[in-house]
């Protein structure tokens, strides 16, 4: 057990010493994850609300599709993103491969189905009489929608938190689209993968502890907002 104990000591020492590489990776992780969560919320919430309240033939198929996309492995998104963003690919002209922007694009694609799906679930769980009641009280369609969103706001919040949880923890997209470039696209998760591959277990552990702490802090913050 000496190995683990020793690694914990080293890890804590690294954190206390505020290792610059560690905190650059934390910053990159948070920046990329927050950007992609924001974009996924802007696209996924309306999508979820739309699918949730509309009734149309084939709705089941759309919901099943969203469910399937939710389970898509991150390396598959990474692979598809790589094909799109490489200079050989259709979007190659922008030269985005191995930049933080590429990571945001990939992680947004990863989070949208999750945010949308949870939103659909929240809408489905809402009291179906809301819209009818609002309408009888003389509300227009926009107002009705507002009432509904107000009713399910906690569900939408949970959807966004779930999306954030998925992107902050993933390594496939970050590695394949970011390239794990030191001080630029290296995130907490790709740094952990690299340090472990270099045999630097303690360093990886230090990063793991900080990653959990960062995820916890963001979730506590979002939860605090939700309570209000």
């Amino acid at each position: 057990m000496d190995f683990i104990a020793e690694s914990w000591r080293t890890a804590l020492a690294l954190i206390i010493a505020l290792n610059r590489d560690v905190f650059t990776a934390v910053g990159t992780s948070l920046a990329v994850s927050l950007w992609s969560t924001l974009l996924a919320a802007l696209l996924g919430v309306p999508l979820g609300i739309g699918v949730g309240i509309a009734t149309f033939p084939g709705k089941r198929v759309v919901v099943t599709l969203l469910n399937t996309l939710m389970a898509l492995p991150t390396v598959v998104i990474g692979l598809l993103g790589y094909g799109m963003l490489s200079r050989q690919g259709p979007l190659g002209g922008f030269g985005l491969l191995f930049t933080p922007t590429a990571m945001v694009i990939g992680q947004t694609a990863l989070a949208i189905p999750i945010v949308a799906n949870y939103t659909v679930g929240a809408i489905a769980g809402a009291d179906a009489r809301i819209i009818a009641t609002a309408r009888t009280l003389g509300a227009g369609p926009v107002h009705c929608l507002g009432q509904l969103v107000k009713e399910v706001r906690f569900g939408i919040m949970a959807a966004i938190i779930a999306g954030f949880g998925r992107v902050i923890a993933e390594v496939g997209v970050a590695m394949m689209l970011g390239g794990n470039i030191r001080g630029y696209t290296r995130t907490m998760t790709t740094a952990i993968a690299l340090e472990t591959s270099k045999g630097e277990f303690a360093f990886g552990l230090a990063l793991g502890i900080i990653l959990m702490a960062a995820a916890l802090a963001v979730n506590l913050g979002l939860n605090a907002l939700q309570q209000r």
């Binding site: 924001l38 200079r87 470039i181 045999g199």
Partner: protein, 269 residues
Amino acid sequence: MKSLRPLLLVLAGLLLFTGPATATEHLKMSTTTSTQDSGLLPVLLPAFEKKCNCKVDVIAVGTGQALKLGEAGDVDVVFVHARKLEDKFVADGFGVNRRDVMYNDFVIIGPTNDPAGIARAKTAAEALKLIAARQATFISRGDRSGTNIKEKELWKAAGIEPKGSWYVEAGQGMGPVITMATERQAYTLADRGTYNAYKGQKTDLTILFQGEKGLFNPYGIIAVNPKRFPYVKYDLAMKLIDFVTGPEGQKIIAGYKAHGEPVFFIYRK
């Protein structure tokens, strides 16, 4: 929506602090894992970055993939070690101005007790024959890296097609493969640079065969052809090439040591 407003405000605030970095020029270099895992690049590149006021983005993969990234035009410069593939890369028009940078050599490492007895072998091919005959575990990079290509050459020279449960294809970089070989107490082909960086704390494997001419391991740097890919940062790539092959870079390479031993050697001019 009211309750979402503070959340959005917090998000916007965070994003302001973490927005896109400043507009320093970025040079993309794909390279083999050994230059990074051995610890050379972290001492070599900052000197160049300071001098040129730029940032070198290192994508460390196997030599095969590093060249592929060059063939796709996804990087500006490649720094690898597989002479035949490098020459093909240039001949096919993907790269220009290949220059020799440095060299080291490959070694066969394995458990100290040397179960296959390869320390007595006279050639690398003979050492591999002994490993195969004993069915001693051998970890192969299996990733078309420079080391993997060299390893395949050696098996061919030994007249053996390695397969069976004793032959493990890891599909990972040099560092992880050394770690894996250490955990499994297996043999593997390693470049001396990465091995020296791992020796001691991270691995208890020892060098059991070395010094054959066929194990020579030269590194080259190549600019990606700007005629083929007009957007590559050719001028900056050439500045980097001039730096690593010039007196300043060569001095850093020759002076870089891991565990008190030199890792790479420069050519006498």
